[in-house]
């Protein structure tokens, strides 16, 4: 079971200062599965992604990626704290796209994409450039190679950010509210791009989003998350159309009223 999973959270707890964000989280994601996490703001959804990206460390519990623990290794037959090299090795399997894009403002678009392959993977610059141009073409921004991030619209920035994450060939992609900072029309363009990506690649994908229509289109499974725990999960039609839990129903009616 453990070896078959792409991602596995086992009894994970995470607190900030004294606020409990995640409590006893168990979540298993299969290879190539597309899981959408929904839930109220501040419910800890993004923390799940940040933990996988090693931007945060759990207080307790274990996180496995492709069967290997993120933060622990076996040394001399005993479990031990993983060294930075192990964490980096694990991190290389995961890519992430952020709500606020987080492009590097001091680098042109092309360099935003090539910098990590060249520095981190030690890829020859010519190869990195070729690959970056392919990726820019794929996200529809082939003509923006030499632009500065400040010259791009929000939707264009997010597409560059997606290309930048793809350039490192992750097995797992995390999308953290990637359209929350965008206008609805621009948002659907970005989401369509992600839908294509999901159809054409083998990556395991985790989404945190408020876009229910997108969730229905992309999700193999929808997870409703509230107050640090999973309340309900199932296929998109199960969770979004006939939820069994009162909290899920309440949340969904609030979302529908808002949109």
């Amino acid at each position: 079971m453990q070896n078959a999973a792409s991602i596995q959270f086992v009894d994970v707890r995470k607190t900030y200062d004294k606020t409990v964000v995640l409590e006893g989280l168990h979540l298993t994601v299969a290879p190539r599965e597309h899981v959408v996490i929904i839930g109220p703001s501040g419910s800890g959804k993004s923390t799940i992604l940040r933990l996988l990206m090693t931007l945060e460390k759990p207080d307790s519990g274990e996180i496995f990626i492709e069967g290997e623990s993120l933060w622990h290794t076996i040394r001399g037959g005993r479990p031990a704290q993983a060294d930075p090299a192990h964490v980096r090795q694990m991190r290389s399997k995961v890519g992430m796209v952020f709500q606020h894009f987080n492009l590097f403002p001091h680098m042109r678009v092309l360099q935003n994409i090539t910098e990590a392959p060249v520095r981190v993977l030690a890829m020859p610059r010519a190869d990195a450039l070729r690959r970056a141009k392919e990726l820019l073409d794929r996200v529809g921004l082939a003509d923006k190679c030499n632009a500065w991030p400040a010259e791009l619209s929000g939707g264009q920035k997010q597409r560059v950010a997606i290309a930048r994450a793809l350039a490192l060939h992750p097995h797992i992609m995390l999308f953290d509210e990637i359209t929350s900072a965008l206008d609805p029309e621009i948002a659907s363009q970005v989401l369509n791009l992600v839908l294509d990506l999901a159809r054409q690649t083998d990556m395991t994908m985790l989404f945190v989003t408020h876009q229910m229509r997108f969730a229905r289109q992309i999700a193999d499974r929808v997870v409703f998350f509230d107050q640090g725990t999973i309340v309900e999960q199932g296929t998109a039609s199960q969770v979004l159309e006939s939820p069994t839990q009162p909290r899920t129903r309440e949340f969904l009616s609030n979302v529908l009223m808002a949109s």
């Binding site: 990206m53 890519g95 606020h100 987080n102 910098e115 990590a116 981190v120």
Partner: protein, 219 residues
Amino acid sequence: MIWNWPFAWQILPIILRGMVITVEATVLGMLLALVLGLIWAGLLLLPNRWIFWPTRAVTEFIRDTPLLIQLFFCYYVLPEVGITIPALVTGITVLGINYSAYTAEVYRAGLQNIPRGQWDAAKALNFNPWQTFSRIIVPQALPPIVPAMGNNLIAMFKDTPLLSTITVMEMLNRAMIIGDKTFRYLEPLTIVGILFLIISLLASALIGITQRKLLVRRQ
């Protein structure tokens, strides 16, 4: 007292030779302050209190003791324990270390202004800590702090006359020696003052240009 032009022209080359030393001390001292200050600021960013507090203590100590005493200590006390360093080298080193405590604060302000998302993105792309610092964070932190660094540079430049107290033959020292010998202080001290003014104005202009260049490049 009347300004004596022939005398002024006669002593100008002597004082200009002192200016070379003044500028040399400022440039080398500032280079040291820039490098050392970045190291302090980097150490103060590390989430380790065994590094943070000793670093904090060192920079605080440097800032809370007078530069003149630091100079005297290194020039007159260190030889007593067998460490003898030439006056100019002592002067440059003490200036550099002293100002590193101030440049560290400027760097820190610049680094704290970098949004957390930049650190997150750097980590998500698997840059190691050194690559993150040198390729992502520092290049963004530098342009906004150029004016504050420039102020430090000019302040250090104006502190170089203190080196005359440890026998460095910079501008003021030469002017005073001329005055002591000829009993004319008006011309040498005026020349020194004007030279300081000219170089300071040139430096501020240069700093302004540098900052505009750095900001334009990003848009």
